[in-house]
């Protein structure tokens, strides 16, 4: 009886657990019933150097329960891509121009996650065993290159991508990283990118994307980031989050350009959406959950504005956020914002930035949304900088060897934050450097030198952790990952590393080899510093992905310049020249050898003797002929037989005809 009861109990337990599981699953299912969602947002921010940053942010998400094959809003191509290549996370960016870290700032979350190196940058994390990653990466590059009309397929070759160990915090081993610094970015790349949005550029904020305006900008970066959640096992559905951003820095055309006086030189240009894009927003994309435009005044600007108010003794502390803010003494907005956010005071700075929110939903075709800002008084401010300003350059000359130097200079603005830490005895600043070097730049890792404040330091004192995978000729690029611990008090640090320039096979040169070869940007990140802006949102219903993106703790990151290394380029016709010269030498050798073998010296001598015996005056005659010619007189040949001369002539003519005939035949039959 007991024997019987035990299985029964077991069965009960099992069913109970199963029930629980089922209930849990059911609740998940219920929660997952949420629809595919789409958000569109635009952030505008005046920059200190009279330019405007415009940052478009589109987000589509597919919940895990939506069937993998059928989509309502989410782009089909992306979900198929994720399923086919088992992509866990991927980022692809197309960039033109270089983010100016000094004047556009380097600390906010916009530059740290949206400032990208010129050309194409792609990294992807795969959810497959190690040995399958490389083939998947190769197929992924081909698919993306077809999807975005770009030459991303050049990242297929193993010399073009690398597998960083710990520079990217997401995944070690299953991540692949590659860049194409020379890729030109143009409209053919943005059209497929827009195709992934449900409204494309037909409605909503994306109508602003007027191609001539955005490509006229100083910086243009189009980015696509996707994350898939859920278990990656076969048959399970994946939830996918697709984030598409477009960051453009534009120079507004000053409306009062003709009236520039000395006092107005520092006045920021007044601009509006229609003046920088030439278009207005006529309502939101109906498929978007939210459609907002934000105007961000950063910390430096807000501090400066407050200062000005104090000077004017108007003592309106909260003028920026008060009801009549748009008749602010320093600037004027053409539209009334729907909400004003003030950043929660961060630990690092006393000032907080101000964000104006405009809801596009309220506008329509008959009353289009056109945000404009008019500055009344001149104002100068600085954007918040990254703790160190990174730049990279080449040293050395000639085509044989050189050195790469990465210089990190402390920026003034960061001294404030360092001061907070300076009470500690061992204040240290952690800096991560990730550098990929192509194989034909043969780096000698032992020659790594570190200079802190122009003083050479032992490498082991500064470098906490280092990972190097040396390049293999024609197989893989060299990867260098460094973790530096720098003293806070230092003002500059330089890393140098020497290299030899390799030789390429004649087939491996690109079409314009004399232009030089690119070394991709190094990534310098500061894990101790986090770029985040917290804006308190009162209504959780109308959640904004852009603001939640700002709240995320992301490392402050910056990219260095792309370097151009001139390599020795051969004369590409050289192989043929060499072939021709050696063959001529060989032909001469064979000819003379054969002649020498065939020669009958004695017989020739005998002939000469015979001739001289018969015609004694032959040699003197010749000499006299020559001298006569030199003198310029015609000497009559004593015994010139007309027959023989005509014979020679006819022979000559025959030879010429023969050669010509051969040439004609050759031309006719072979060419």
């Amino acid at each position: 009886m007991a024997l019987l009861r035990r299985p029964l109990l077991l069965l009960l337990i099992v069913t109970h657990q199963f029930l629980q599981l089922w209930i849990a699953f059911g609740s998940v299912n219920e929660e997952g019933q949420k629809q595919e969602e789409f958000y569109e947002e635009l952030l505008l921010k005046p920059l200190p150097d009279r330019k405007v940053l415009t940052h478009f942010h589109f987000q589509s998400s597919a919940p895990p329960t939506s069937n993998g094959r059928h989509h309502h809003l989410f782009p089909k191509a992306i979900s198929q891509l994720v399923q086919k290549f088992r992509v866990k996370e991927m980022e692809l960016s197309f960039t033109q121009g270089r983010w100016n870290y000094e004047s556009w700032g380097g600390f906010d979350s916009i530059p740290s996650s949206n400032a990208k190196p010129p050309g194409v940058e792609l990294w992807a994390v795969f959810d497959v065993p190690q040995h399958l990653i490389d083939p998947l990466w190769k197929n992924l590059t081909h698919t993306l290159s077809g999807l975005f009309c770009a030459s991303i397929n050049f990242l297929e070759s193993s010399t073009a991508y690398s597998a960083p160990e710990w520079s990217f915090p997401l995944a070690s081993g299953s991540l692949r990283y590659g860049t194409l610094p020379r890729e030109a970015v143009c409209t053919e790349n943005i059209t497929p990118w827009l195709k992934l949005l449900p409204c494309r550029d037909k409605a909503g904020i994306s109508t602003l994307l007027d191609r001539p305006s955005i490509y006229r900008g100083f910086y243009h970066s189009q980015r696509l980031h996707l994350t898939s959640t859920g278990s990656g096992s076969e048959g399970m559905d994946l939830g996918i989050m697709l984030e598409q951003t477009l960051t453009v820095v534009l120079q507004p055309i000053s409306q009062r350009a003709s009236l520039v006086r000395d006092s107005e030189k520092h006045i920021q240009p007044s601009w509006s959406l229609s003046s920088i894009f030439g278009k207005q927003v006529s309502g939101k994309c109906v498929l978007a959950e939210t459609s907002n435009v934000y105007l961000l005044l950063d910390r430096g600007l807000v501090a400066e504005l407050k200062q000005l108010h104090k000077e004017n003794e108007k003592s309106i502390e909260n003028s920026l956020t008060s009801e009549n803010f748009w008749t602010n003494p320093s600037f004027e907005l053409s539209a009334k914002p729907d909400r004003i956010f003030i950043e929660e005071c961060s630990l690092l700075s006393k000032n907080s930035s101000v964000l104006y929110k405009f809801e596009v939903e309220k506008y329509s075709e008959f009353e289009p949304f056109d945000l404009g800002i008019t500055w009344k008084i001149p104002i100068v401010w600085l954007c918040q900088q990254a703790p160190l300003h990174a730049s990279r350059f080449l040293t050395g000359s000639g085509n044989e060897r050189g050195a790469i130097a990465i210089s990190l200079k402390s920026t003034q603005t960061t001294e404030g934050f360092m001061g907070a830490h300076s009470n500690d005895e061992r204040c240290e600043l952690r800096v991560d450097v990730f550098q990929v070097v192509p194989w034909y730049v043969k780096v000698y890792f032992h020659s790594l030198q570190v200079f802190v404040d122009q003083q050479p330091k032992a490498v082991s004192d500064i470098i906490e952790k280092i990972h190097i995978s040396p390049s293999k000729d024609k197989v893989s690029p060299g990867v260098m990952e460094l973790v530096l611990k720098l003293p806070c008090s230092m003002s500059s640090t330089a890393l140098t590393i020497e290299f030899d320039k390799g030789f390429l096979h004649i087939d491996e040169y690109p079409p314009d080899a004399n232009q030089g070869f690119d070394i991709p940007s190094a990534i310098v990140s500061f894990p101790n510093f986090h770029a985040s802006m917290v804006f308190l949102e009162s209504d959780s219903l109308n959640k904004s992905p852009l603001l939640s993106k700002f709240q995320e703790w992301s490392h402050v990151m910056s990219y260095t310049e792309v370097l151009l290394v001139p390599l020795t380029t051969p004369d590409f016709s050289m192989p043929y020249n060499v072939i021709t010269i050696t063959c001529t030498v060989f032909a001469l050798y064979f000819g003379s050898l054969l002649n020498a073998l065939r020669r009958r010296v004695a017989e020739e001598e005998r002939f000469l003797k015979d001739k001289s015996a018969k015609k004694t005056g032959q040699l003197p005659l010749l000499l006299s002929k020559l001298s006569a010619k030199l003198r310029g007189r015609r000497s009559e040949p004593p015994h010139s037989s007309p027959v023989s001369s005509s014979f020679i002539n006819s022979k000559l003519v025959f030879k010429v005809i023969l050669i010509a005939g051969l040439a004609v035949c050759w031309q006719y039959y072979f060419l």
Partner: protein, 604 residues
């Protein structure tokens, strides 16, 4: 240095040679002319030398030729040619077996068989590509016993006499009759059975399986029934009820890798007016899945769907007051699909060479709703849709009551009602059948009368699937043969193109699969021959589109010539001229010697 020393050596030998020659010159001899004769035999040394150099050069040429040769995997050109000639000479025969059962008639089965065969030969037109060989057996069921013709046929004798009676056909439920026939004959047999029953109301029905039956009125002659039976066999069971010579019959919308991707798109022309969504998953499970399973032997089908917005049509439509709707006519159809705005996309998941069929549901915007398709004869299309061969189909779906705007709240998300969706997908299945060349109506109107076709819930009936797999085999084999023939032509026309081993292997396997398909087809195994033929085709395409053929890495003759001519042209001039000179001189000298010898002989 080497040449100088060698030259010295030859000089010294020359001296010796001449030393033996010169002193012998007899100055005293009066009739000895040194220009015309000589006393010594001419030396062979230089002649041998120059000729050995020439011969070593000539011997070296094959080695050179071998060294600059490029790798070409041997392709079985002859077998390719024989395959294509075999297919062209109409050797692809599919055996079919027909069985006609006459219930309630007491006619001579031989006579019936002869008359049916006569009609069949009248009706069969010569299909230029694939033909069928058929056998016919006739059974006359007299209740108590049966009469067979031919007597020894294995097919007709398997039928148990008296199991089908006229009472089975009295009921009006065609599906039940169909089931009854299946239970009698068994669903597994590959033969096509037609039962002719004498009864009351006239009916002619083709079942879902491989059966058909007709009820003939009492007064009708059996010969009329024979004509009708023959037409059924030829037009429906052999040709699938399709029009002869239609170009659509020759193309199958199946990709080279045997895959079809059905991409369903819901197009909201203007989401500002209304946004419609659909419950595609449900339809996929209930309507599409059985059809996909049924078509399994012919093609591997996958389904995907998406909803697109802001997709206006490219053609104009006009307001028709009488119909109270917007009307677009058939002549506007080529411009209906707006390839600029309808980014239907090729599928990433499919990849390769699979064929994508796009099916689009077009939801018109408020300013063109309701939108109707007008046929050339002025009528309004019932399905409100059209197909484009090899591309797919389009249906215009008008939202309910789109004229009275009051019901609609703009930009609210609506779901297409499930009833409408089911109707829509039934139309899509009809369009899909049309893309395969079948009729989408349930009646076949033949010359000798109509046949009702029982529709299958799987979209395709068994006899239609037979037709498809026969045609698929035929199409695949022909396309495989043409691909291989063009490959062999290409390879032969470019003698300096590198051909990898892979290509050779693919061609070999493709030929093997084609042969297997041929032998399977002649033994009547449709499904395995269809599978083998699609494999043959995809291998042939793989070989033809192999990346190494696409690349420009072939080593041209001009290149070879440019590299080697600077060496071989001058050297060969020297060598050949030297050999010729030596030969001429040797002949001269020998003639001189002979003259002297003759003279010496005569003088002595």
């Amino acid at each position: 240095m080497a040449e100088i020393s060698e030259a010295n050596d030859s000089d010294s030998s020359e001296l010796q040679d001449n030393g033996s020659e010169a002193p012998q010159r007899p100055e005293s001899e009066p009739d000895f002319d040194p220009k015309l004769m000589r006393k010594t035999k001419p030396g062979l040394k230089r002649l041998v030398l120059t000729f050995s150099v020439l011969f070593s050069f000539l011997l070296g040429f094959p080695f050179l030729w071998k060294s600059v040769e490029i790798y070409r995997s041997p392709l079985p050109f002859r077998e390719i040619d024989s395959l294509s000639t075999q297919l062209r000479s109409d050797n692809l025969l599919f055996p079919l077996h027909f069985h006609a059962l006459f219930v309630g008639f007491d006619h001579d089965p031989d006579h019936l068989r002869r008359s049916i065969l006569l009609e069949i030969t009248k009706l069969t037109s010569q299909n230029p590509k694939c033909s069928n060989s058929y056998t016919l057996s006739v059974n006359v069921d007299l209740g108590s016993h049966c009469l067979h013709s031919p007597v020894s046929s294995p097919h007709s004798s398997s039928y148990p006499c008296g199991s089908v009676t006229a009472t089975d056909f009295v009921q009006n439920d065609d599906v039940a009759v169909d089931e009854r026939l299946v239970s009698v004959f068994g669903g597994k047999t590959k033969e096509y059975i037609v039962a002719v029953v004498k009864g009351g109301s006239e009916r002619a029905v083709v079942g879902k399986h491989r059966h058909a039956w007709m009820v003939v009125g009492g007064g009708r002659k059996v010969e009329v029934a024979a004509v009708k039976v023959a037409e059924l066999l030829v037009k429906l069971f052999i040709n699938g009820g399709r029009e002869e010579g239609s170009i659509r019959n020759e193309f199958m919308p199946v990709g080279a890798d045997g895959k079809i991707v059905l991409s369903f798109n819901l197009l909201n022309a203007d989401p500002l007016d209304w946004v419609y969504d659909w419950d595609f998953e449900k339809i996929d499970d209930t309507l599409l899945a059985p059809m996909i399973e049924a078509l399994g032997p012919v093609a591997n089908i996958s389904v995907e769907s998406q909803v697109l917005y802001h997709t206006p049509k490219a053609s104009f439509s006009f307001w028709n007051q009488k119909l109270e709707s917007y009307v677009f006519s058939t002549k506007d159809l080529p411009f209906f699909v707006n390839s600029n705005e309808w980014h239907l996309d090729t599928s990433i998941a499919a990849g390769g060479r699979s064929n994508i069929l796009q099916f689009a549901v077009y939801v018109p915007s408020a300013k063109e709703c309701p939108l109707l398709l007008q046929l050339p004869n002025g009528e309004i299309s019932k399905t409100n849709g059209f197909i484009s061969p090899m591309w797919g189909g389009v249906i215009v779906w008008n939202p309910q009551g789109c004229l009275n705007d009051s019901e609609f709240e703009p930009s609210a998300k609506n779901i297409i009602p499930i009833q409408d969706l089911e109707n829509m997908f039934e139309v899509f299945i009809g369009q899909f059948r049309q893309l395969f060349g079948f009729k989408s109506v349930n009646v076949y109107a033949g010359a000798s009368g109509d046949w009702n076709l029982l529709p299958s819930e799987r979209g395709f009936t068994e006899w239609e699937l037979d037709v498809l797999s026969r045609q698929h085999t035929c199409f695949n084999l022909h396309s495989c043969a043409t691909t291989l023939v063009s490959l062999s032509r290409l390879v032969q026309s470019l003698p300096r193109m590198i051909i990898m081993d892979d290509i050779g292997k693919q061609v070999k396997f493709s030929l093997e699969a084609a042969k297997l398909a041929l032998s399977n087809a002649s033994s009547g195994a449709y499904e395995s021959s269809a599978a083998a033929s699609s494999q043959a085709r995809s291998l042939a395409e793989d070989a033809f589109f192999h990346p190494s053929i696409m690349s420009v890495s072939y080593y041209s003759f001009e290149h070879c010539f440019a590299v080697y001519s600077p060496f071989f042209l001058p050297v060969s001039m020297h060598v050949v001229l030297a050999a010729l000179r030596e030969l001429r001189r040797y002949k001269q000298e020998k003639a001189k010697y002979l003259v002297w010898k003759a003279k010496a002989n005569t003088s002595s």
